[in-house]
Point group: C2
Chain length 105, copies 2
């Protein structure tokens, strides 16, 4: 038994709160599943980009493209009430992984 569950058994109000917590966690799990599948699809695209660039001697890194992506994601994040700083950090995290994958190919 987790400490959280035992806390929850102390009163009926806490039982209700615990059920709300489980519902929110189920939503978080659903959203995470969707994100993982979208990221899998995204990496399929970046692998194709990597192969295309290698086959045609295009530069692996394109700072202009990255700058456009960052501006675009920050703007989207603002519209979605998500911290634009976080959106930029998130994109950099993903791009680092893409670069790591390209190097390992």
């Amino acid at each position: 038994m987790t400490s959280e569950m035992s806390t929850m058994r102390d009163s009926s109000v806490s039982q209700d709160a615990y059920e709300q917590l489980l519902q929110l966690r189920a939503s978080i799990d659903n959203l995470d599943s969707a994100v993982v599948h979208l990221l899998a699809e995204r990496f399929k695209c970046t692998q194709q980009v990597g192969r295309l660039k290698a086959a045609h001697g295009m530069p692996a890194v394109d700072p202009e493209r990255e700058a456009v992506q960052i501006r675009r994601l920050r703007s989207l994040a603002e519209q979605a009430h998500l911290d634009p700083e976080f959106a930029e950090k998130f994109l950099n995290f993903i791009i680092e992984e893409v670069v790591r994958n390209h190097r390992s190919l």
Copy 2:
């Protein structure tokens, strides 16, 4: 003009490759938009979790829940042909942001 575009103008094969690159980038942008909106929804859920835990004196951090999430996401990643190590790093990246948000509230 980017160095990439000028490279592309050297031959018709390269023009075709450049068009393929633009198509792949458009798909990446669509997927990123979807992920940003899902993450915005996810942070709405974790903010609710934060408020619920604060209101009911539940511990802010739950290592058991995190362990379950990591196992679950690694398994989903494998099914989606995504590197499970990356899926775990991704979840940790998101959880760090959630903890940072909870601390700033």
